[in-house]
Symmetry: C2
DNA sequence: GTCATCATGTAAGCCGTTACATGATTGC
DNA sequence: GCAATCATGTAACGGCTTACATGATGAC
């Protein structure tokens, strides 16, 4: 999100659900430490702290001296001046982002894939296709294993467990065909790479048909 | 699983995937502490430790005294005699199981629902129906929120994020109709509660149709 | 006699959460 | 002036994982 504009933590948290659908939900307890880590790593930097330029001593009145003394007494404890910290992404940050986005995901971390796809626009067409096809291969393997496990244990499964496993299998199948559609959409339209073999009206071939 | 027969930890871990489909995967690092906690809570008990009845001092030979001394020196450190620990479920365990299985699940903990349904056979028909309908209501709410979020932010979403959110929405819809089928299957067949209103050939009414 | 497998456990660590603590800004 | 909200952070904890440590059993 910082690739589009500098933002501060609170704002980031507010916008996350809009950008990622309701599948985000990061708590402050993990957001702020994450920002601190990214800043320490040089991936982001504080573009502008809160405009702490309140009039040096506003309405200098009788109590101002006392208040200033009080403030001075406790300020040293926390060096930061508790205001908005607007972060911007750095060059290193862009590089890190690309690296993380292109990195192969854990086979069983579904969220990682979703997150990467959500930012698919920042990937090169090739990297995007790799992401989709890697994911597809993982789902196909998962499906095969699930089917093998079913064959091995289906008689031990009662109706509820079986229904669960079957529903799960169907979901995976649907995920695969969804990926197929995304993959097909990634391929350049036929009229951009004309050849004697391509017929614009023919449906795109399935990369590897689901059995 | 202990409801069906006493088993030891290693065996439990081996069988888990068969019983729950491949959606289980518990590591030893969490399984053994869990068993220890359950035992401490009185939910399970060691039915039979490993048959440690090896001949008291097998083949008493020249080195036996030395070996025994060595063993005696280090045995006090670990009181247990490292063998199979076959656990059986206790009365308290059955009660705890039922309590946990019937407890309302966290709205966003999908795994909890799956786990409960997998052991649905141990629930009373009423509790089972409650489980299914509670889950259905949660999914319906999730769907509504997702759609509201989409309406609010759809123009900000690019093709990838949108496709993701839409696919997610469809999955939820399918989950709901799957639940509807399960719920319908729970209802006693028409010929068991005959009434002037029930027509065996008419399709079951959807509890609350998905819009 | 030694290797693979069975079998149980502990320790360190990661990742994320909730609850808490603090402070700044704004509207009434 | 004071409440709501914006805004940042820390602390404690929970749950799960991997890596490590240990030991028993059986096959060859």
């Amino acid at each position: 999100m910082l690739k589009e504009q500098p933002l501060h933590g609170y704002e980031l948290k507010k916008r996350l659900p809009e950008v990622l659908g309701p599948l985000s939900r990061v708590s402050f307890g993990s957001l702020y430490p994450a920002l601190a880590k990214l800043e320490a790593a040089g991936a982001i930097s504080v573009a502008a702290a809160a405009d702490t330029s309140r009039p040096a001593i506003p309405m200098t009145g009788s109590l101002a001296g006392e208040a200033a003394a009080f403030r001075a007494r406790r300020l040293p404890i926390r060096a930061d001046r508790r205001g908005k910290k607007v972060y911007a992404i750095t060059e290193r940050g862009h590089a890190l982002f690309e690296e993380l986005l292109a990195a192969p995901a854990d086979a069983d971390d579904d969220r990682a894939f979703s997150l990467k796809l959500a930012f698919g626009r920042y990937l090169s067409p090739e990297a995007r296709l790799r992401l989709l096809e890697r994911r597809r291969a993982q789902l196909v393997e998962r499906l095969e294993q699930a089917r093998a496990a079913m064959r091995a244990a289906s008689e031990r499964l009662d109706a509820y467990a079986r229904s669960l496993v079957e529903h799960d299998t169907e979901s995976t199948e649907r995920d695969i065909s969804w990926l197929d559609r995304l993959i097909a959409a990634e391929r350049p339209p036929a009229d951009l790479r004309p050849s004697s073999l391509s017929d614009p009206s023919a449906p795109a071939a399935d990369p590897t048909p689901v059995p």
